[in-house]
């Protein structure tokens, strides 16, 4: 949790509307009861709690919101969305915020998370079905964090938990879908 002086000025305009439009969630309905923050399993590791994040969106604090750790640490567990007395689907809002941040090519304060998302989609595009060993390897290489979990990975390998070689079943269709979606979203 952080405390900071916020500036609400002309730059704050339009952000609430953007998030509302993209997520389809009426962010204004939040009355700050704090239920999402108290139920969020990952709140302890976030900079802004979910309740604070919604307040920031209401105040048009684009920079604070899009550069927060919160949007990348959200595990999409749906607890907030399920418990909100005002029907604010915060998990849906988090998706919209990650999408906006990625569109703006912002450097994330938790770079491993967007890297994981990118590598996952890349993996599906190549193999159709997730090739887990390939995903781990490409992710670890890209984040430079090769040693962490190496022992665990080897033990899992020993237990036969990974397929050594990738398959390519379904890869043609998956690749085509990803390509079409990307082409559409570029325009």
């Amino acid at each position: 949790m952080v405390e900071r002086v916020l500036r609400v000025d002309e730059r704050s305009q339009g952000f609430t509307e953007l998030v509302t439009a993209l997520s389809g969630v009426q962010v204004d309905a939040c009355f700050q009861c704090g239920k999402c923050a108290s139920g969020c399993p990952v709140a302890f590791a976030m900079d802004y709690t979910p309740t604070q994040l919604v307040h920031l969106i209401q105040l048009g604090q684009r920079e604070e919101v899009l550069s927060s750790r919160t949007i990348w640490l959200c595990s999409a567990c749906q607890t907030c969305s399920t418990r909100c007395p005002q029907g604010v689907d915060l998990a849906e809002v988090m998706d919209a915020l990650r999408i906006i941040a990625a569109r703006e090519h912002r450097a994330a304060p938790v770079p491993a998370v967007p890297a994981f998302l990118r590598h996952s989609i890349g993996n599906i595009g190549v193999f159709g079905r997730t090739y887990e060993l390939g995903l781990m390897a490409s992710l670890k290489l890209s984040t430079g964090d090769i040693r962490q979990d190496l022992g665990l990975g080897l033990r899992m390998l020993g237990k036969g938990k990974f397929n050594l070689l990738p398959g390519f079943r379904g890869s043609g269709t998956a690749r085509r879908i990803i390509r079409r979606v990307k082409a559409r979203e570029k325009t």
Binding site: A112, L117, T130, L139, L152, M156, K159, I177
Partner: protein, 289 residues
């Protein structure tokens, strides 16, 4: 009873034991599963985090494949896939703009009913079959059922019995003769894919869940999710080292437990895949009836 079957990526890789034991349990219960032809990844956590359109198109393309098989019900054991399928269906029902775009990218009919095996196995007639098929008792084996996030939440998407205190898995495993305990962590989050990016978060969440199970008096945790299983099982030693206490809790798929009770051959349960050995399951089995 015959269903199309979408295993999802995990069940063909890190969670082969879930796939195999589900097939064995289904066979014992007279449920036929026919794998979806040419299925591919539903996009899981990644697709919906980067694009609404991709998050809908990947699952719906797989549902279109179900319909092309001439089937209209598909069994989806992985809660992440299950959730993404149902979210995608809701998305095109509620958002005509996305629906039109998806229709261009993935033409076809996606009106297949998405079912989790627990929904099927908990039907009254199936519970009766489970009771009849239960041939082995595991004496003194106390379990807690861990549902995780996406099987139950949000209710309007999953249609599961209760988001805070679900009973479906409890009911199924009780029918198979297990001593299922009540506890407070049924639908708490294990941290899911943060295991790959923020391990510290997953270790802390796992600690709370394992401690909760221990406090309830459990000797094992029953799960229905590949990611929950991997996070709680393969990282249990690390969590123990961090917490400075020992849990020694085997994390078993409900299908493995059903299989144990119904006398499925050990080979089909693949209990040796787990890091925390299910000793009670391997040694404490007694034949009965």
């Amino acid at each position: 009873m015959r269903y199309a079957y979408y295993p999802g990526c995990s069940l063909h890789a890190t969670s082969k034991e879930y796939d195999r034991s589900l097939h064995a349990a289904a066979l014992a219960l007279g449920v036929q599963l026919q794998e979806v032809e040419g299925w591919f990844c539903c996009g899981s956590t990644a697709a919906h985090s980067v694009s609404h359109l991709l998050g809908a198109a990947l699952p719906l393309a797989n549902l279109a494949a179900v319909r092309r098989m001439g089937m209209d019900e598909v069994m989806v054991p992985c809660p992440s896939c299950f959730s993404r399928f149902r979210f995608a269906q809701r998305r095109v029902e509620s958002d005509p703009a996305i629906a039109a775009e998806v229709a261009e990218i993935v033409p076809g009919d996606y009106n297949a009913r998405v079912l989790h095996p627990l929904e099927v196995f908990s039907r009254p007639e199936m519970l009766e079959t489970i009771r009849q098929q239960t041939v082995r008792r595991l004496p003194g084996c106390k379990l807690v059922c861990y549902y995780g996030c996406l099987l139950t939440r949000p209710k309007d998407v999953t249609g599961f019995d209760d988001v805070e205190n679900p009973q479906t898995m409890d009911t199924v495993l009780r029918a198979a003769g297990f001593d299922v305990l009540d506890w407070s962590f049924k639908t708490d989050c294990c941290g899911a894919s943060l295991a790959l990016t923020r391990k510290d978060v997953v270790l802390e969440l796992g600690r709370a869940i394992l401690r909760g199970a221990k406090d309830a008096g459990a000797q094992a945790i029953a799960v229905a999710c590949p990611l929950c299983q991997v996070n709680l099982d393969t990282r249990q030693e690390e969590i123990e080292a961090l917490a400075g206490e020992r849990y020694g809790l085997p994390i078993l798929y409900f299908t493995q437990l059903l299989g144990l009770a119904m006398g499925v051959p050990a080979d089909d349960l693949m209990l040796g895949k787990h890091f925390v050995a299910a000793n009670f399951a391997l040694t404490g089995v007694s034949d009965h009836g």
